[in-house]
């Protein structure tokens, strides 16, 4: 008897995956503020971001990466960024996630450590699992732009491509919302 193929039950997980992928692709209403409100609006997000930065400062795995950072500016930028990600009425004026992390050699382990600190911070603020997961799902899209982000192009290359534009103009607007 030759080899038989018995993947008869394969339809079950395939159906689940297709259903989940389709539901993930459903476009959200443009101004669904439910996540923003669940996070406690801009004030709640600012408090969450503060807790996150304090947690990171005590996390020896990644604290060193933030040593020479202007913490007040980072707090403001991160708050605005999360606010925008949560469809809140904020404006994010910082670099794209890609440009903000270029050449910093951030490993998967570094990224995971930050995610863990964020989860612990959200727990500390008593945010329900559903709210945590919704925010994580949106922030997770940025991972590709953060982990092992390529070094910035050399000044010569940049000039060749962009002429005399300053570096900040290098940020493509679509990058503000991740990918």
């Amino acid at each position: 008897m030759g080899a038989r193929l018995r993947l008869s039950a394969a339809w079950a997980p395939i159906t689940v995956v297709v259903a989940l992928t389709l539901s993930a692709c459903q476009s959200m209403p443009a101004h669904d503020r439910s996540l923003y409100r669940a996070l406690g609006e801009r004030e709640g997000i600012a408090e969450l971001t503060e807790t996150l930065l304090l947690t990171v400062a005590g996390d020896k795995r990644i604290a060193g990466d933030f040593r020479r950072v202007d913490i007040d500016r980072l707090h403001r930028m991160l708050t605005d960024y999360i606010c925008v990600i949560a469809d809140g009425p904020c404006e994010y004026t910082g670099d794209s996630m890609l440009n903000a992390h270029r050449g910093q050699q951030i490993s998967s382990a570094d990224f995971n450590a930050l995610v863990e600190d964020l989860v612990l911070s959200m727990e500390e603020h008593g945010l329900p699992t559903a709210t945590q997961n919704r925010l994580l799902a949106r922030l997770a899209r940025d991972r590709r732009a953060i982990v092992d982000a390529p070094a910035p192009p050399s000044p010569e290359l940049r000039q060749l491509i962009l002429g005399d534009l300053p570096l900040s103009r290098y940020s493509a607007p679509r990058d503000v919302r991740g990918l």
Binding site: S107, S108, N112, T129
Partner: protein
């Protein structure tokens, strides 16, 4: 073939107690998100209770390495299956696992023991963050140390190698804003009941492609409920081998510890019908 009173027999309660002690002093390593490393299955590799997942055991990420110890017991009507295993995860790229199974055949008062060495290589992707999930290939070499009964039942070999391809994906905030993990594995195997009844048979000794499927819902970051289905090759003429099914509950209080409790339905095993019961496992990691 060994008598159940064999002095080499270990008692699962001791293994559980020892691992629990280790877990309380263990400093868990690795940074991947809690519970996303799965638990240790009956083959000794990361998965559910009976299926193999594409994720690698433990929580190691690209710059980390982790070690896992695990013990489990599956108790169904006429059998107990005890498993002890150790797994090393290098940089979330390659996992090396060693497992020892002991099947107590209660009506015959005999034990059948086997050892499995497994390799799992993550080919591409990351289950959580890549849109299309994570893909791994693996192989398992199993040597059956008590080949008497398997030979009587018609098995040809006391050792064999399985090859598999596995895919896993975690969907964040997918169902009721809970995270969901979905796994599918295609396995080429000649193993009868994991190899406990040997490999192949005189009439059907070729590799067979079987599937393993499962899905789990993370209630929160500590609790996971799910179901699994593992197709079996059913090569022996003398006894029927049914597909395996479980419903499981995993509790992950920390990266150092995971408990799994499952209801298992193994169907017909070695001539005994309707083998249902429970599966309990404990895993610790460093």
């Amino acid at each position: 073939m060994n008598s159940v009173s064999n002095r080499y027999r270990y008692y699962p309660a001791w293994a559980f107690a020892l691992l629990l002690t280790v877990a309380t002093i263990a400093q868990a390593n690795g940074s991947r998100l809690w519970a996303t490393g799965g638990v240790t299955n009956v083959n000794g590799t990361a998965g559910g209770g009976i299926t193999t997942w594409a994720v690698l055991n433990g929580y190691a990420s690209d710059s980390e390495s982790t070690l896992n110890l695990s013990t489990s017991t599956a108790r169904v009507d006429d059998f107990n299956l005890q498993t002890l295993s150790v797994g090393f995860n290098w940089a979330n790229r390659l996992a090396v696992t060693v497992a020892h199974n002991r099947l107590d055949v209660k009506p015959l008062a005999i034990d059948i023991r086997q050892q499995t060495v497994g390799l799992k290589l993550r080919l591409a992707g990351e289950a959580l963050y890549d849109r299309f999930g994570q893909y791994s290939v693996g192989m398992q070499y199993t040597h059956n140390a008590d080949f008497g009964v398997p030979a009587l039942l018609g098995a040809v070999d006391n050792h064999g190698v399985d090859f598999y391809f596995a895919a896993s994906k975690v969907f964040l905030a997918a169902i009721a804003n809970r995270n969901v993990i979905v796994n599918a594995t295609a396995r080429a195997t000649r193993a009868n009941q994991l190899g406990l009844l040997g490999f192949g048979s005189a009439n059907d000794n070729s590799y067979e492609l079987v599937g393993e499927f499962g899905a789990g819902l993370f209630l929160n970051r500590r609790w996971l409920i799910g179901a699994e289905y593992r197709e079996k090759p059913d090569k022996l003429d003398s006894v029927t081998e049914d597909d395996w099914k479980t419903l499981y509950l995993v509790y992950v209080p920390s990266r150092a510890l995971a408990f799994t409790l499952a209801y298992v339905d193994l169907g017909r095993v070695a001539g005994f019908d309707d083998q249902t019961g429970y599966f309990l496992s404990l895993q610790t990691g460093f």
